[in-house]
Subunit: 341 residues, 2 copies
């Protein structure tokens, strides 16, 4: 056994030296080049340092390194309308083609009219009808294929680019930086879990099993050839917003996050829950204050609230009180999008 054992020791030394040199090289570069120096960047780097340095009293074992990210307004643009709502509205013509009876009934008639003002005035109840009709009733495989096709071709009206290019470069860097330091990154979104899963891996490097979202039931059954499949059911299992976020995190992950990132009152409970754990915790809020490069909205900005989750004054107060770090898009981000020069 001796010669083999020394050979193993030799190999282990070679492997470790290789890793050490590689990690020294990696550390030489700035992992967050799109972030300006400032309190936000310092909070991130300091947090990663203390939680990943063995022997530090705030060290977090790799298995417990869970970081959760809201999506809309935190990882990508949510203005003027959530991407998923755009999907649902744009699915209506295909839906009406399959079920022509819907053409003359509301709210589908209004959506088909293309009258933007009228569409913007649809009630929450109308919107729910459209969501239920376009997000449920089909097989999981059909739904995935439809979303995949749409997300590859649909474009945002202001930036004239696919929605998946409207992710924030600094947040993409942050996701990678955390993963390089042993963190498991999760999306925790008010959006549909199945919707986000279709593009999460390609867009954020986050696999479907690490997407927590608003969850609907599915129903198991068999097709005429006896092949089993799942149908998306309108029954809501969990609304992954507000208190639903920590509840969804417990359901899907079963561990309390060590770091959490959001941008609206719907993220407040996730940040509180994260911060209430022992040891080092990082809680951050993205503030949309850059009307030129992206958007500026929300009462904390002295601006009117919009339909999408705005950063309220109450949320701002909470951030001050609880030690959450506010990320100013205008001041903290050198670049917002990868396509910017």
């Amino acid at each position: 056994m001796k010669p083999i054992s020394s050979f193993f020791t030799f190999l282990r030394v070679v492997a470790w030296s290789t890793l050490l040199v590689l990690s020294t090289y990696a550390q030489a570069g700035d992992p967050l080049p799109s972030w300006n120096d400032g309190a936000a960047k310092q909070a991130i780097v300091g947090f990663v340092q203390v939680t990943t340095t063995q022997g530090n009293p705030q060290f977090v074992p790799p298995a417990e390194r869970i970081a959760t990210f809201d999506q809309d307004g935190t990882l990508w643009v949510e203005h003027p309308m959530y991407t998923q709502v755009m999907y649902c509205l744009e699915r209506v013509p295909a839906l009406v083609k399959a079920k022509p009876g819907l053409a003359t009934s509301e709210p589908f008639k209004t959506v088909l009219s293309g009258n933007r003002e009228a569409i913007a005035k649809l009630s929450l109840k109308d919107l729910e009808k459209i969501l239920a009709a376009t997000l449920t009733g089909m097989s999981v495989d059909e739904f995935n294929a439809e979303v995949k096709t749409w997300i590859a071709t649909a474009k945002d009206s202001r930036f004239k680019r696919p929605y998946t290019e409207l992710t924030y470069l600094p947040m993409q860097e942050l996701l990678k930086y955390l993963r390089a330091n042993g963190y498991k990154t999760y999306i925790v979104t008010g959006g549909g879990q199945d919707f986000v899963r279709v593009y999460s891996e390609a867009t954020y490097g986050i696999p479907p099993e690490q997407v927590v979202g608003t969850m609907g039931a599915t129903k198991y059954g068999y097709d005429k050839n006896g092949k089993p499949f799942l149908t998306k059911d309108p029954k809501l299992l969990l609304n992954d917003n507000n208190a639903g976020k920590p509840e969804g995190i417990h359901l899907m992950i079963g561990r309390r996050p060590v770091a959490a990132f959001g941008n609206s009152p719907g993220d407040q409970q996730m940040l509180e829950y994260t911060k209430a754990g022992d040891g080092a915790r990082l809680a951050m809020l993205v503030l949309h204050d850059d009307a030129k490069r992206e958007y500026a909205y929300g009462p904390a900005q002295g601006l009117p609230a919009t339909k999408v989750g705005a950063f309220t004054q109450a949320l701002n107060d909470q951030a001050q009180k609880q030690g959450w770090t506010v990320i100013s898009m205008k001041n903290d981000w050198k670049r917002i999008f990868a396509f910017e020069q």
Copy 2:
């Protein structure tokens, strides 16, 4: 840039050579030493070989390597009673101490009597009352602490050992073998998701986020100091049995497994769903046919069904028809438990 780039190439070559040599050494040993040679072992090794060999038409990319395991009767002993039901029954005295009024009301009175025959005769409705009272109503943290204490001390009546020692050694080897080959291993159990999560990492090397089980809702709230916490709610979100297993897999993982392992009719849909995917698929059923070393039960054995999920004749027929491999504990397993000599 040139010198650094060649240095990196050098390091990469060193690292890869190290890995290759290590993997050759690893392959020299049998990864499944507690399995007898036979159809079951061959099915496993053959499946892993074709799905992990680059260039093989049945190659599965690492991200899609999902393997799901039923727990009770598949990973550990389920006879004569599910471990979680033992927990619930043994919690009753503490429950009655906290709520003395329950002492005189059924089914708690019967449980307190200690009369085994009477306890065995409790109806499903009575059992549900006991489960609801002992598994919900407390905070998630309290629940976790209670299960942790119990599982560390409670013992099985036949083997006189902690339940966590009653896992099947061949299945433990299989879990490790799959993980060593890039598979992500999940438990998909009819048992309580939160219950199994308490010991899954220490017992099976499976982290809480990879446990799919019967799921209850939680409720987010604040204690008197304003600290947020989650309470376990009696509301059932998903019964992770039968059709609930593929539904739970979709909810929690969002991918179809490539390999699935079960032992009872409650696992049938999970195995069907797994097998219905494209490419190589592995579906296996553990048959309890070793009365001497463990137990023998179920009509497929020509033995009476028991209260716990038995391997029925119908399930056996399904296995033949669908090409699932049956694992005979008696013939396929050299050792059943790690504590056996």
